[in-house]
Symmetry: C2
Subunit: 343 residues, 2 copies
DNA sequence: TTGTACGCGTTATCAC
DNA sequence: GTGATAACGCGTACAA
């Protein structure tokens, strides 16, 4: 399979390379007849232009990349679909780039921009605690989407779209309290977590405080290090331990729906019931939460609107040179059947 | 942000470009001292080599691409992780490429190979009914992984890894029959489906036949066209209609776990229970099936082994010039609590 | 309207 | 050990 290049096509057609190039790229100044002929030869010989060479030459690829950290996260699936849709609607190419757990998303972004001549970037997931200096190395506009911002200060430097994890988390815990719960356990992330996990724990703490309930460390169960974080498996393992510890509580707030589901399962497997014996609440608003039996009470993040807003903001900067901005969305508390009102 | 190139670095260091190139690519013939210095300048100036230019020049990028059709599918998540792991272990670069629903995966593969100088390709998902001629245009070894092969004939032309959907599906339906069920509804794919959906329906049919039960069209419920296929939502909608139709049946075989879960939910919402009123069985062995309440009886595809076999086969062809081969894996019937034995 | 020649940033092949 | 220089495949001024 010797690689066939634009030169070969030109020779085959008895024309110059520039004519072939013009034919492929829909340039105006070309004879319709020769163009037809060229296109035919291209088809016949299955010629495919080399993208690397193109990117090397082109100033602007009209492409937007979405960098996603943690492809396993079902929460992102819907967002990606909308990103794709919106980007293609604007006649831009959609590039989806997966980032390993141990890779630095900004490094990947910089490399990719060089390689593909991107016009903009969306970061999805990750904690994103990068220095301003590093961020400034990204030569194109970008938006942080649903990323747990540890530090709001200095955030005017970049655009972002997110829900206020502290507030929403507090909303859920307040709801549990209003349903009569006082002894509320939480399944939180590890001690050293700097991402959304910490923020959601902070919300839990704040809600308790507001309602005059003392914060008690022993109600805080941490996810296992040796199991996928935010997974059902992790939720199951932690809950199992919690139940076996004999600790007394009436409700569990899991900081994600996946955890909540693992949590429910552990309760069922222990011969207990949700919500009769224990109430369970989640976070995220995954489809799964609604389909679970019982359906899981959760905070639904408005993924559609958030994804749309992300793209809109990005293009605002790209096309209109708008300033960076932050948009905070409200989560919606969806009452399922997993929380019982107690007296 | 003027782009900084290898030339700039060379000038800055007072050396030639080739020396810089050698420093970056760990070439042996280079003075350790100058190398150190060059690397430092690279760091300081945040120089990042342009991948397009690299790919243009390099003969071989030592890269394997995984093309995935339908990123939403949770079934693929685990496989991808293993692919990544195995590929990196072989010191190859892992490239994950998403393929739109309306894109042709082979076209994407050909383009990507040209662009990135791939050494091999894994196709994940899709139905893959391509002509031999088209397949021959792929200039590097490739493996079809968990792809519903419509037509086993002529498949010696390419490597593949899959479970026998017909057989496994029949296994599940036979199991239901052995549990005493006779009136078994199935939630199948659309009439025009040529992918795994058709195969699984075929298995259903075959199992009935083997047990002397007449195949009855009216027990075949088709997924909705206007809803995501293989989704919980689809399973819910179809089951709801089925229940409202008043059709008499004791078990439902959903051709995927997601559908099965939507199915369960519809039954619960109708005030009925699983498995007391209706037994439900799924297919795939998703994590979710195990965590559902009741846990869903399903056919578990051995994803880990399949993913490992995929990579092994691919490298066998790449490194040892082995012939194409097909490997069929057995699914495992996992008994959950969603199927009741009846008399 | 079409063809020629150069440059994009990098690596590999030479000489030195 | 190091430095010119020729590719790699394509797009595009510029000339024709």
């Amino acid at each position: 399979m010797e690689t066939i290049t634009i030169k070969d096509i030109a020779k085959l057609c008895g024309v110059g390379v520039s004519t072939v190039s013009r034919a492929m790229n829909n340039h105006p100044d070309i004879n319709e007849e020769t163009k037809q002929k060229i296109m035919e030869v291209i088809k016949d010989y299955h010629y495919v232009p080399n993208n690397s060479a193109r990117n090397l030459k082109r100033a602007d690829a009209k492409a937007i990349a979405v960098l996603i950290k943690g492809i396993t996260n079902p929460f992102f699936s819907k967002m990606i679909k909308i990103f794709e849709q919106e980007i293609q609607e604007k006649k831009y190419t959609f590039v989806l780039q997966h980032v390993d757990d141990h890779q630095d998303e900004v490094d990947v972004a910089i490399r990719l921009e060089k390689e593909k001549r991107l016009n903009g970037i969306v970061f999805l997931g990750g904690h994103f605690s990068h220095s301003r200096e590093k961020l400034e190395q990204i030569p194109v506009p970008f938006v942080l989407s649903t990323i747990g911002l540890r530090d709001q200060s200095g955030s005017e430097k970049y655009s972002s779209v997110y829900v206020d994890d502290v507030k929403e988390s507090a909303k859920m815990v307040s709801y549990l309290i209003e349903q009569g719960h006082r002894k509320i356990a939480i399944i939180a992330s590890g001690e050293d977590d700097e991402s959304i996990g910490r923020l959601r724990l902070e919300g839990y703490r704040r809600a308790l405080e507001e309602h005059g309930i003392e914060y008690d460390e022993s109600y805080v169960a941490r996810m296992k290090d040796d199991v996928d974080s935010y997974s059902m498996e992790n939720g199951y393992a932690v809950t199992k331990e919690l139940l076996e510890s004999g600790k007394d509580f009436t409700a569990i707030f899991a900081i994600s729906d996946s955890i909540a589901i693992g949590c429910c399962k552990a309760i069922f497997d222990a011969g207990k019931s949700v919500p009769e014996n224990y109430s369970v609440a989640g976070f995220d608003g995954l489809e799964m939460a609604a389909y679970y039996h019982p359906s899981v009470t959760t905070i639904k993040q408005p993924v559609e609107e958030m994804a749309e807003a992300t793209i809109k903001m990005l293009f605002d900067v790209i096309l209109n040179g708008a300033r960076e901005q932050q948009r905070v969305f409200d989560g919606e508390l969806i009452e399922g059947k997993s929380v019982k009102r107690i007296v």
